[in-house]
Symmetry: C3
C-alpha cells in the first residue's frame, strides 16, 4: 500500500475512534435490541399483560452488557439506570416499538433497507462496548488477560449471556439452552473481539488501538450485512472452529473410547454413569417431564457439529 | 386547617419520624413475614426435612430487601447477617413460629385482632425501609431519580421481588410467576412510596420528609387494615392503573392490529412469530412439558385486566 | 501427654500451617473436582458439544468457593480469573481429564489408591479455604460471628452451594435439590469447620490456630479416607444431628399437631393450606408437570431422617 493509502487509512481510523456513539448509534442499538426482543415468541402477550416486565426485559436487552460486567467487577448493576438520558432514550424506543399507534415504528424499522442500516450501526457500538469492557477490566486488573477478555465479552454480548435470566423476567424458563452451550454468531464475534482487544491492550498484538477498531468494526459490519442480505448460513468461523474442534477435542480420544473408559473406571470406583443415567431415565418416566431437563442438552448433542454450525447463522438473525 | 391542627400534625409527624423501629416494629415485621412464609404451600414439609433451608428462606423473607438492595448497589449481601441482634431476633421468631410447643405462637399470632395489629406495625416498617433505600441510593448517585426509586423499591419490597430465588431455596421453582409480571398490592404500594420519597428527596415534591412519612404511613396502614377487615378485593390503585393502562398501552394500537403488523413484518424480514410459536408448540408436544413454561404467562394473559386487579387483593393477603 | 509429645505436636501443626497449597495440593483439588464433574450424568455429552460450557463448569467446580464468597462480600467474582497460574493449571487438568488421548489421565486418577491420595490432599485444601474465608470476612466485619461462618462455609463448600447454577451452565436444571435442602457430607463438614474457625478467630474457642488446623485437617482426611475405603454410609455426625433434630425440631410439636393447628388457624384467618395445596394439585393435573416442582421436596420429605442420613455418604462420594 502506498503512503497515500496508509495516511488515508490512518485518518479514517482516527475519525472512527473519535466517533461519538451517542445519540445515533446508541439509538440504533436500542431499536435493533428492542425489535429483537419483540420478535421472541410470547413477548407481545407479555407486553400487553405487564408493560413493566416488558420494559425491564427491554432494558436488559439494551443494557445487559453493562449490568453483567458490573456484577462481574462488583460494581453496582444499577449503574446504567443512573445515566438518565440513555434510559429515557431506550424507554422511548421501547414504547414506540411496542405501543406506537398503528405500529408505525416497528413496521418501518422492520423494512429490510432500514433494518440493514440500523443493524450495521448497532454492530459499530459493539466495538465500543468490547473496548470499554477491556479498558474497564484493565484499570482493575492490570495484566490479567483472562479478566480483560471476560469483561470485554460480557460487556459486548451481555444481553445474550444473561438471556436465561432475561427470559425469567418474562416468565419463560429454558434451562436447556444458553449461550455457552450453543453460542450464537454475535456471541462468537464478540468473544473474538474481546480476545483481540485484550491482546492489543497488553501489547501482545502489535497493532494500534484505532487501527484495530477500524478493522474489527469493518469486519463485523460487513459480515452482519452479508448475513442479512444473503440469508447465508455459513459463519465465517466455521472452518477454523471445525479444525480447532477436531484437533483439540476429538482428535485422539474418540467418544466411544471415552465412554468405555468411564464405564470401566465407574466399575472400579463404584460410581457408574450408566446407573446414574438409568436412574434419570426412570425418574423422567415416572414424573413425565423432569428427565427432559437432563436429557435435552444430550439430545441436541446427537446432531453433528456441522449441523450446529449451519444453524447458527439462522439463530444469529433472531438474536441480532 | 387552623394553626392548632397544623401544629399538632407537625408534632405528630416529628414524633413518628423519630420513632425507633427496633425492637417492636421490627419484631412485628419478622412475625408477619415468617407467618407469610409458613402459609406458602409445602413449607411445613420443608421445615421438617431441612430446618436450615427453612431458616434461610425465613431470613430472605425478613431481610430480602436489604439483600436485594445490597446486590444492586454492589454492597455485601451478607451485611444483614452482621447485625447480630436483628438476626437473633428474627431467628427466634422463626423458631417459635415453626417449632413452638403446641404451636402456641403461630396460633395466637394468627388470631385476627393480633394479626391486624402486627400487619399494621409491619406496614410502618415499610416507610422506614423505602426511605432508607432512597437515602442510601442518594448517597451514591446524587441526582439519579431512577436509581433512588429502584433501590427504595427493592429495599421495601425485596422479599417479593426475589421470591423466585427464595422459592428455589425450598426446592420450588415457578418461573411463570414473578412480581414484575403480576405485581401484588404490597409491591405496588412500595413502588408508589419509592417514587414519592425519591421525588421528595430531589425536591420535586414540595413536602417535608416527616410529613410525607406520616401521610404515607397512614395510607398504607389504613389501606392494609381495610383490606384485611373487609376482605375487600378492590385495590385503591385499580382506577388509576386501568386508566393509565388504557391510555398508554392499548389506546391507539389494539392488539389485533399489532399482531397483524408483526406477521406482515415477519414475512418481510423472514422472521415470523407465527413460525416461532408453532415451533414452540411442537416442542411442547414432543417433550410433554417444556411448552408450558413458554405458554403459561400467555395463558394468564387471556384474562382481562379487570380480573387481574380483582385477584390482587387476595394475593396480597398471602404475601402480606 | 508428656512434654516431648506436646513439642512434637506443636512442631507438626506449625509445619502444616506453613505448608503451601500451591501447586501440589491445589492440583489434587482441581483433579478431584474435575473428575467429580465428569462423573455427573450427561457431562460427557456436554464436553463433546460445547467444550466452553464444560470448561466454565469445571472452573465453577474448582473456584466455586472463591466466586461465591466474592459475591457475598461484594468483591469481584471474576477475581479467581486474575490468578493466571491457577486458572492455567486448572484448565490443563480439565483438558487432560476430559480430552486426554486414550483417556489415560482419568483412568489413572480413578484408580482407588491414587484417588484416595488425591482426595486426601483435596481435603487438606478445605482447611485452608475455610480459614481463608473466615479471615477474609473478619477483615471486613470485625466481630460478626455469623458473617465469618457464612463466608468460611461459602469459600470451603462453594462448588456444592452454587451447584444449581453450575448445572444451569450445562443445561441441567434441578430446582428440587440443593445443598441447603439436603446437605451432603462435604457441605456439613465444611460448615462445622467454618463454625470452629470462626469461634477460634473470635477467641471463643481456647485453641491456637495451627492446632485447630491440624486437628480439623486430620479429622477430615481420616474421615474421607475411611468413607472411601469402607464405602461406609455412616456419617460421623448422624447421632449428633439426629439428637439435635429430635430435641429442637420435633420434640414438643409433633407434625400431626402442627398440621392440625395450621388448618385451625387457616380457618380462622381465611387462609387454608389445604386449599392452597388443592389448587396446586389441580394446576399440576392441568398442565401435567408444574405440580412436580412443588411436590418433589415434599415427596422426599416422606422418607425418614434416618434414611436421609444413610444416603448421604453415598452422595458425598459423588460430589467429593
Amino acid at each position: 500500500m502506498d503512503l497515500f493509502g496508509m495516511l488515508y487509512l490512518d485518518e479514517l481510523s482516527h475519525g472512527l475512534a473519535n466517533l461519538s456513539m451517542f445519540p445515533y448509534f446508541d439509538m440504533a442499538h436500542y431499536i435493533v435490541s428492542v425489535m429483537a426482543l419483540r420478535e421472541q415468541p410470547g413477548v407481545l402477550d407479555v407486553s400487553r399483560v405487564s408493560p413493566l416486565a416488558c420494559w425491564f426485559s427491554s432494558m436488559l436487552y439494551c443494557f445487559g452488557g453493562a449490568v453483567l460486567s458490573g456484577i462481574m467487577l462488583a460494581e453496582p448493576p444499577v449503574a446504567p439506570l443512573s445515566n438518565g438520558t440513555s434510559v429515557l432514550l431506550a424507554s422511548t424506543i421501547w414504547y414506540l416499538v411496542f405501543y406506537c399507534p398503528m405500529d408505525v415504528v416497528y413496521s418501518c424499522a422492520a423494512l429490510l433497507p432500514l433494518r440493514l442500516v440500523l443493524s450495521g450501526m448497532k454492530e459499530v457500538t459493539r466495538t465500543w462496548k468490547v473496548l470499554g469492557g477491556v479498558t474497564q477490566a484493565r484499570s482493575k486488573y492490570k495484566d490479567s488477560l483472562l479478566v480483560m477478555i471476560a469483561i470485554g465479552w460480557a460487556r459486548g454480548a451481555g444481553g445474550g449471556l444473561i438471556s436465561n435470566f432475561e427470559q425469567l423476567v418474562r416468565g419463560v424458563w429454558k434451562p436447556e439452552t444458553n449461550e455457552l452451550l450453543k453460542m450464537s454468531y454475535p456471541t462468537k464475534v464478540t468473544l473474538m473481539g474481546a480476545v483481540l482487544f485484550a491482546l492489543q491492550q497488553t501489547h501482545y498484538l502489535p497493532l494500534q488501538k484505532h487501527h484495530l477498531m477500524l478493522f474489527y468494526t469493518i469486519f463485523i459490519v460487513v459480515n452482519k450485512s452479508r448475513m442479512m442480505l444473503t440469508g447465508s448460513s455459513s459463519s465465517p468461523f466455521s472452518p477454523i472452529e471445525s479444525a480447532l474442534y477436531k484437533t483439540l477435542f476429538t482428535g485422539h480420544s474418540p467418544y466411544a473410547a471415552l465412554t468405555g473408559e468411564v464405564q470401566k473406571a465407574g466399575r472400579e470406583t463404584g460410581i457408574s454413569n450408566r446407573t446414574a443415567c438409568r436412574a434419570t431415565t426412570k425418574e423422567s418416566k415416572e414424573n413425565g417431564s423432569s428427565g427432559q431437563k437432563d436429557s435435552s442438552p444430550v439430545e441436541g448433542a446427537e446432531s453433528s457439529l456441522k449441523a450446529k454450525e449451519e444453524s447458527e447463522a439462522e439463530d444469529s438473525k433472531k438474536t441480532i
